[in-house]
């Protein structure tokens, strides 16, 4: 593993970047990063008691997305997806479907509680959430996720067998990004996932 490779491996895990690291990731000059930081186009903070600028990972990703900068230096290219459903067979089915794509790193949970725990540790890009869970309802999970500003870019796709327009509206209000009815067409499902994650569908 070359140094660059090792560095890149570190960069993949880093949560806070210096302006130099951000310049490397974005493949621009450090001056550009500093100018963007100071103009507010790139959000971050200064280390207390010093003038050192620090940029949180989420902010850097946002900045890169906004400016169409390729993110392969900072991200592995694998999108993390958390599947939450109390029916293990459905979880299994979804894992199979997502696994066929090859670009997803998948974790599963069968309760709302587990979903909350993994949201923090796994930091998924997308949560596929069954509305009816044994402990709490999907809209509560949505609200909990949205309560943390760090997760504001996390996508939530609700899946449910119950199609009550009022409940769907509640879910969307609680922070869900989309809804899909069970049983689903696998093509439709993967298309929605790609749309939400803003990645091209593999033909």
């Amino acid at each position: 593993m070359s140094k660059r490779n090792r560095d890149e491996g570190e960069l993949l895990k880093k949560q806070v970047f210096t302006t130099g690291e951000a310049a490397e990731v974005c493949n621009v000059s450090q001056q550009t990063i500093i100018r963007c930081f100071d103009s507010g186009r790139l959000s971050g903070f200064r280390v207390p008691g010093s003038r050192f600028r620090r940029i949180p990972r989420a902010e850097l990703l946002k900045f890169m997305r906004e400016n169409d900068i390729p993110r392969d230096r900072i991200e592995s290219g694998k999108q993390r997806i958390l599947v939450v459903d109390d029916d293990e067979q459905i979880v299994e089915l979804l894992v199979d479907v997502l696994g066929r794509d090859g670009r997803f790193e998948v974790k599963t949970a069968t309760t709302g509680y587990d979903a909350g725990v993994y949201t923090e540790s796994f930091r998924p890009h997308l949560v596929i959430l069954d509305y009816m869970l044994p402990d709490i309802n999907g809209n509560v999970v949505c609200e909990t996720i949205r309560a943390n500003p760090e997760h504001r870019d996390m996508k939530i796709l609700c899946v449910s067998g119950v199609v009550n327009q009022d409940e769907i509206s509640q879910l969307l209000e609680a922070g869900a990004d989309d809804f899909i009815k069970k049983p689903f067409n696998i093509e439709t499902l993967t298309q929605r996932i790609h749309e939400l994650l803003d990645i091209p569908v593999i033909a």
Partner: protein
Amino acid sequence: MRGQEAGRRVDLILEQIETLPTLSAIAVRLLSITSDDEADVREVVRLVASDPALTTKLLRLCRSARGGIGRAITTVDRAVVMLGLDAVRSAILSIQVYETLSSASRDETDDKARVFDRPGFWRHSIAVAVACKLITEAHHEQARTRRSRCELPKGDEAYVAGLLHDLGKIALDVIMPKSFDRVVTLAEQYQVCMAEVERRVIGVDHHTAGKRLGEYWRLPHTLQDVMWMHGQPFDALPDLPHRNLVALVTTADLLVRRQHIGFSGNRMRGEDLDATCRECGLDPELVRGIVSKLHETSAEHASSIGLDDAPSQELFLASIGRANEALGRLNVLLEERSSLSMQQGKVIGAISDFNAAAAPGRSVIGTLGEVVRSATNLLGDGLYLMLYQSRRSDTWQVYQFSGDGRMLRNHDAVPPTGCKHLADLSDEGQVSMRTAAVLPWLTDYLGDAVDMRDVQLIPLCCAWGVAAVLVHDFGSGVQTYPQALLGAITTTWASAIAGAAQHAGAKSLGEQLVEANRVLAETQHKLTDARAMARLGEMAKGAAHEMNNPLTIISGRSQILVSRLAPGEGQEAAQAIVEQAHRLSDLITSLHLFADPPTPARHETDLRALITELAKDARRQFPDVKIVHDVPDDVGKVWIDPTQVSEVLAELIQNAGEAQPRSFVRVAVQADPLDGRLVIVVEDDGVGMDARCLEHAFDPFFSVKPAGRQAGLGLARAQRLIEGQGGTIELSSESGEGSTARIAIPHWRKDQSPHSAQDAA
């Protein structure tokens, strides 16, 4: 209050009795002497003899009393010896009483104008006295051979009793001559007992007045009781020792009145002399037997106390004349009575006709008309209005009727300010006064046809109050009736009207009850439906969750299989599994949506665009069918749930398209000209529906379509959605002619929608 006033008045009258002159000392002394004691007798003789005028009169009286023997009586002393003290005492009392009261005679009144004939009265009193004496003597005579239960005092005592029995009349006459004249007139006019009239007019009758005078003059109790109680039936008398004396006076009084001697003032008829005699144990034959002697003896006695010198024959003629006079008056009275009874007859006839015509369950107005018909028969032609106020109404209704009870016109009248409800105006005057306030208005209402001065208001009162007011013009020659008579029929009318009003009230209550029951039944039905739907909704919701999970796995796994299998190697089978899983899921979803439809979310919607879009879809689906639509410009933007209405219309257009229309499917929109609801009609000229199909068209899962098309929830769901927006959906169809579905949605303009506020919020 009135009772107290009357009581004071009676006391005043009775006190006045004590202002009358007292009896002379001789009379008082005479009354205190009870025995034939020698000393007493001597004293009486001495007293009488000291009064020459009295002596003369006494001797005359004694002479007349004893016929032949009497002629030998020339001195007071001799009179007492020959006739006994009692006889002399009676004679003196008679004279004294007469003189006392004659001298107390009214001074200024003109005798001629007086109704109460005082000399006549004295003649009557003397005749009664004589009759008493004659009957007593005859009775004592008879009692020697035949036992009788009737015990009578000596003839002379009976004489005094008879003489003084009506003394109260004289007393009343002296005290209040005018009132007493009126009593005499009324008693004669109505042929009733004088005492009754006295009680009404004066407040006290001559019986009480007589008793008081007797007490004042300290007359013996026997006499007081005669004055007080004579004239009463024997059985009604208290158990007194001198009960028979009282009865004797009653009998004698009756006998004398029958003989028309003198003037008693009493015109009571119908008493049976024989019965009166038998009651007290007197022999009627005996009583009648004295009549021959009665006239002559009475005349003698009258003249002996200085009344007059009319010979008995003349006295008889006078009494006959008097009887004729009384008869004449009686005839006039009878004529009046007969005219009254004719009127009574007419009124009773009218009441009976009115009641005969009464039909149960007649309306208030019908009854008012009947009353007018009855009134026309009774009172004659003329104007007839009825003023009526129903229990719950604030206004009066004025109805004008023709003579035969047809209603000509009616009008609302606002009652005068502060006026109570018509029914509560129980006082007659109040009705006239209050209703008079509508009279100016009535003048306008009636125009010049009627002279308002003739118009009268007759309140029709019954136990419930004033049922209505009859307005009648009493103009030209209308038959009039006494108030009391008219009252009899107005009460009948009023009761009929009040009865009709009660009946109408009860009827309307009954109708309201039936209506309420019907609504209740409908509500219960709807509630049952709603409950069934709620249960179905819960069940479908559970089913949707429980069944869609396995279906997801079936479908998902099959889809993976489809992608892995090659065509011809099971891919088709896997694909079929996927489709059937989704079909089953759709069914569950539609069942769920049917039972628990989402709350309509109204938005301002361009209906024309919506229908145009639907028509475009339909043309794709049914390329061979001509699909036309017509949305008028004035409908414009509508306030509906576009998703739901779109879903419903799609279902209807789909049905129409599948009905094999010969030429077209038409979607037309308009605002209902009657109730303003938004009406969307989808019609086709396809195969139509038969009656059975039409009846069950909205039932879930009812379908006549060939198998393969989705289960028949479409129309049922369409109905649920439209009803959810407060609207209705109707189907009409002719088999072979085509079908028409008609949706009507209320409150479809944003500003008229009750939902707009909450939707905006």
